[in-house]
Subunit: 417 residues, 2 copies
């Protein structure tokens, strides 16, 4: 039996999605602007509700890093509002016909971009995701059902209320933006199987959350975000570039999915490169774990275990390995990588080509930091997450990735022969 | 515990997929030609194995329609071979870079089309699907694991063996084409959860099979084929066109998913249109089931139940309903349709536009038969099925729909600021 709240919300979302699908771009932009203004107006209420969550989370012993993600400030609320306003200026993908051609008997066939319908977002205790996801879904004509982490319950409830009321007052159908705060965990299990109402489910969060959704959902899922990313420094690398790239990819923001977790170095340049770069990384607070050849070159580092090579540390830890050649580097990446972002540093034309073509990942780089795997860095102007599955889309997902297509066919009475 | 056979085949397929991904177009075309030739050479063996399946199926009381689908003849084997040869002349989607642009700091970003990886196909007792799916996957650089209906076990085994051996002899990696004949049903359940090796699962068959895969798979699924298709005859319809379209959509091939199951008629034209068209449909052997207003106009027809409107008959049965207006027709379609193919017959510009934009289905027609929803009729040159889900793709799936993308990024040492 489906929980009554879920059924009601699902049904309202489905109804709303039909109206949302044909809202004009101007109307959607007005709604986004109204949502942004409403968030700022409700600043005090939001801060109060967030304070309740923070108090509870501290009592529950939440880690400092997670508390920081949960915490809202006036500046962060303004960031959320600005994020909504930024969507206004982005092109509306809906309704565009990407190509049109003649099929059998000269029927005219067009590929029209349309919303996915109803999107479910399951995420952790990050209240900013609430506004972010609501805005992206609204802009793309999708209804959204949000399920945030239980530690952010009060924050999410107030943000959803504020956004939904503002959206409705500005002309969005009721049910466009909804959230589920019922703390019962069984409701999440049911949400994952709500095929009758949900078109897609997007989990945003850590590996545990994502795996749970992938394994339990019957609704189509876009798997996001697990990144065990490698930087391979080739024998033909410009070692200065290589050093900057690994330091950036490891240290600039170690807790995110496009940060590097592994460094592979060609044996010919290892002796020159590794002692220097490891010194710099360690000065930046990075713990190095290396294979035997790395440990022969760099003193006082721990041995990298098999497990270390397969791990997304999301921390200032780097696994290092010396490889015989490009092929061995690529085989290592194939074995341990998660298909997120992989980079080669080389000045060799053929090696760059081999790597770019042969490595199977969402984003494959020659001579740039893996940290660029991001909707904004790619120029999409928005990002709902980074897909690491192959169905639907791969890599950073912007507005277009929250849409699908339908074929529209113009005939003059044609029948099939 | 994963069954050992599945694990072995999955692992071989994964290995094969890496090599397949970078096979040249010429090489893949040579392999397809070799597969076609091998099928024809093995005609006698295939007919013998198929005869075993036919005997068994008859003993099991298989219906005539299903027996016909199971039955292979020299002509049908030649059709399978010709189908493989037809793939040779189609453009290879793999490796093309669809667009390239500058991202942050002028990194160059390209969208490269790449194979999905390993595709699982679960289908019924139609041995021709074996050759068809193997060919489509090979052309797109995907490894395939086939699981056909247990009634076609011997046919599928021999066809897979012949194709796999020919492919391997012509240069395909071992493991490119594999099938699972183990009759244990539990193995299908395991196949659906083989996320470690499978990138996508495509069920091809009836509603029961597809629902079972959607509900049980943890591997991403492309849902195909359930079509409860409507023809709406508007008050502004050219009634001659309308008659031809509904007769074609219902009768030309009633057992397929793009055949019409429902006729909706505007009340203004019902009295003129329905008696005539129903007479013609009944002469063609169609059983009409109508609402009260239809029954007032057409004598001696049964009442359409609520259930009838929601049903994919796949047979010479048509549910008919008189509606007040376009809006009511669209609401009916939204309620009962499966998002496959929907058509309006009208000469009214605005009504055609409203219908094409407002109806949420894979293919929406103005003035043409729903029977055109087909990869070949659309000009794709091939078809693996018709997607009725919104994720990844919708409608007829050709070669491109068996691929995904990856981003390739050319840098000169850029790091994220």
């Amino acid at each position: 039996m489906i929980n009554q709240e879920l059924r009601d919300k699902g049904s309202r979302a489905k109804e709303a999605s039909r109206i949302l699908a044909s809202l004009s771009t101007d109307k959607k932009n007005n709604i986004l602007a109204a949502m942004a203004a409403a968030l700022e107006e409700a600043e005090l209420q939001i801060l109060i509700e967030n304070a309740l969550d923070m108090t509870q989370a501290k009592e529950n012993g939440m880690s400092k890093a997670l508390l920081d993600r949960l915490h809202l400030t006036p500046a962060r609320i303004k960031d959320m509002a600005d994020g909504l306003r930024a969507l206004v200026s982005l092109p509306d993908p809906i309704g565009g016909v990407e190509s049109m051609w003649k099929g059998a008997q000269d029927i005219e066939i067009g590929r029209m971009r349309v919303p996915l319908g109803v999107i479910g977002i399951i995420y952790e205790a990050r209240p900013n995701v609430t506004a972010d996801a609501a805005g992206l879904c609204l802009k793309t004509g999708n209804a959204v059902i949000l399920r945030g982490g239980s530690d952010a319950l009060n924050s999410n409830r107030i943000i959803t209320e504020v956004l939904a009321q503002a959206a409705e007052a500005a002309g969005a159908p009721a049910g466009s933006i909804q959230s589920i705060e019922n703390p019962d965990r069984d409701i999440v299990a049911q949400l994952m199987k709500l095929n009758q109402y949900l078109d897609v489910l997007i989990p945003r969060g850590g590996a545990g959350l994502i795996q749970s959704v992938v394994l339990n959902a019957t609704v189509p899922v876009i798997e996001t975000g697990i990144g065990n990313c490698h930087i391979y420094v080739d024998s033909y690398a410009d070692l200065k570039k290589a050093e900057e790239i690994i330091v950036n990819a490891k240290c600039q923001r170690p807790g995110v999915c496009n940060a590097a977790e592994n460094l592979l170095v060609h044996e010919k340049v290892a002796a020159e490169f590794l002692p220097k770069v490891c010194k710099r990384l360690r000065q930046a607070g990075v713990e190095i774990r290396g294979d035997q050849r790395t440990r022969d070159l760099v003193p006082d580092i721990n041995e990298a275990s098999e497990e270390d090579y397969g791990k997304e540390f999301l921390d200032l830890i780097l696994a290092v390995k010396v490889v015989d050649n490009l092929e061995q580097a690529m085989a290592h990446i194939q074995k341990y990588g998660t298909g997120h972002s992989e980079a080669i540093v080389t000045e060799h034309y053929g090696h760059a080509r081999t790597f770019l073509q042969g490595v199977d990942a969402a984003a494959v780089y020659a001579n740039a930091s893996t940290r660029f795997t991001d909707g904004f860095q790619f120029g999409f102007g928005a990002e709902i997450g980074i897909s690491t599955q192959k169905l639907h889309t791969r890599g950073p997902m912007g507005l277009k990735e929250l849409t699908t297509i339908k074929y529209i066919i113009y005939g003059d009475g044609q029948i099939r022969k």
